[in-house]
Subunit: 319 residues, 2 copies
């Protein structure tokens, strides 16, 4: 039993953005911290029992997908046509196996569909109706549009259409409304007791998005990457900038090729993203259990848990 619970680590995020403490009520803040804690508990239960980092990542992300507070699964934003188009990806650092779905509308937990692509197909990425057919054949739970519907997201779309704007998850408050609602892409990275890393990300993308737009979340190398030789990474933010910088792989490559710590690598990646006017955040964990939660926005919903089983959560820069 000596290696059970030895240096396990789970880190999660629920999106980065312009999150001002002054605009979030104590009640709302508590609800977010509880949601993050639930996700951490779901992943920790697996890691503490000797389970794999992949299973922990799925459990942590599925918990966030099932809550209406984040822009993933239930609570996802609406596209221009009034539909929820979901993207997710997952990667196993031990084998470099990976799976991804993009533009799916009827899968309750896109992260589970991404995992099914990884484990049950020869492929890495499936998109659109084809991905849904595959998920249905694999027996994954489907959901109808009513399941994904949330009134606040619908109202958000109407406001965005009225202003002809494409919203980033977290920019609504400052740019469009006085609502104190802040939401985001979700992600998780984990180290299990066998030293294996995994990463995953799930999102509804941009409010009022059109033309089948896909961001970084379902792109292996951009939104998600895991390699036992370096780190596991999940990203959130302005997806286009994260794709152009290959944010997740970029961070892993720095750790592997320059042998710098995970937090420095994340900061370097965010500096590259800032250089092309991008904002967002990254969570990272390495094979020794060192981890980082870095962002160049005013806040990022985030949390972590390790051997001691004590969940830590953060929202604003200072915590």
């Amino acid at each position: 039993m000596s290696n059970i619970n030895s240096r396990i680590r789970l880190v999660i995020h629920g999106g980065a953005g312009a999150i001002a403490r002054s605009k979030i009520t104590a009640e709302r803040e508590l609800a977010y911290r509880q949601a993050l804690t639930e996700s951490l508990a779901a992943g920790y239960a697996i890691l503490a029992a000797g389970g794999s980092s992949i299973e922990a990542v799925i459990a942590a992300i599925a918990a966030l997908e099932d809550l209406p507070w984040f822009n993933a699964g239930k609570g996802a934003v609406f596209n221009h046509d009034g539909r929820n188009e979901l993207d997710a990806s997952i990667m196993d650092g031990a084998t470099l196996m990976a799976g991804s779905v993009a533009g799916v509308t009827a899968i309750r937990n896109p992260i589970r569909a991404a995992h099914a692509v990884m484990t049950k197909s020869k492929h890495v990425m499936l998109i659109g109706q084809g991905a849904e057919t595959f998920a249905a054949e694999q027996g994954l739970e489907l959901a109808n549009p009513a399941y994904f519907f949330t009134q606040h997201r619908w109202d958000q779309l109407q406001r965005a259409i009225a202003k002809e704007q494409i919203l980033l998850d977290h920019d609504e408050e400052s740019s469009l409304s006085s609502s104190d609602e802040k939401f985001g892409t979700v992600g998780a990275v984990a180290l299990d007791c066998n030293g294996n890393l995994a990463a995953g990300t799930s999102t509804g993308g941009l409010t009022n998005k059109r033309y089948g737009r896909v961001g970084d979340s379902p792109i292996i190398g951009a939104g998600t990457y895991a390699d036992n030789r370096s780190v596991a990474v999940s990203a959130t933010g302005m997806g286009e900038m994260f794709i152009r910088i290959a944010a997740a792989f970029n961070t892993a490559a720095q750790v592997r090729l320059r042998q710098i710590p995970a937090d420095q690598a994340a900061d370097n990646t965010l500096a590259e993203i800032a250089a092309i006017n991008g904002t967002g955040g990254l969570i990272v964990v390495d094979a020794h259990g060192n981890f980082a939660m870095r962002f160049n926005t005013s806040g990022m919903y985030r949390g972590t848990i390790g051997n001691d089983g004590i969940a830590w959560t953060g929202i604003f820069a200072e915590n």
Copy 2:
């Protein structure tokens, strides 16, 4: 005029695979070399006149898309449903701007659609029907299924269905038929007289593919990457493995972070791909005009042209 024609370089590929000299007739070989030479000439005309690397990449790739010999544009393979689903991406090394389309069926030149995404939208990647709507709004030339139809691809699909196999572009001869036809994903990388790099890739994916499968070609960082600080890269081969290794960005990252030559970086990337049982090839050019055409298969359709305007083409390992 001193900088015009100074160290320009264009490198193209038309796919890598199990290409045996003994199975290709002299007539067929000549046709391929002529096709590659036409593509090189189209790109060279732009570079020699002082045009941009992006324009040269588009011209070189569009020429190959328009020929029935390669698995891109006209001549693309059929998916399981008997349709042509096309993917393409392009990236500008000067600005790190990028564009990509995946799963499109009615755009004559997917590389031009990828370029339109890069220049005319806020996004990097558009998929499916949404991407087609965008392309149509941008005035790009559409094509109906009859345009993409080629008898040999149709026959290839029927054989694949009969054998319930998903074919890699170039594996048909050895595994499924005695045909001497060898085809592939196409790509180009270029350095222009202003020292700017660009890369692009276009494909029809896998014969008999299902479920909206997307390979590495439309993935920025996997199939395509360009950064003036390092190199421009286009990949071809078993797409899933190239995604898992983030092949194109990986190659660029090595040049930038380890400061090794482009050919060594390409070989290292192919070694990582081989380690997960992947095969394929990479073309690379750096900002000094150094270039590489590397593959771990028996052949890769390829060619290059520089200041002297003399087109060089290769098919087999030895040339």
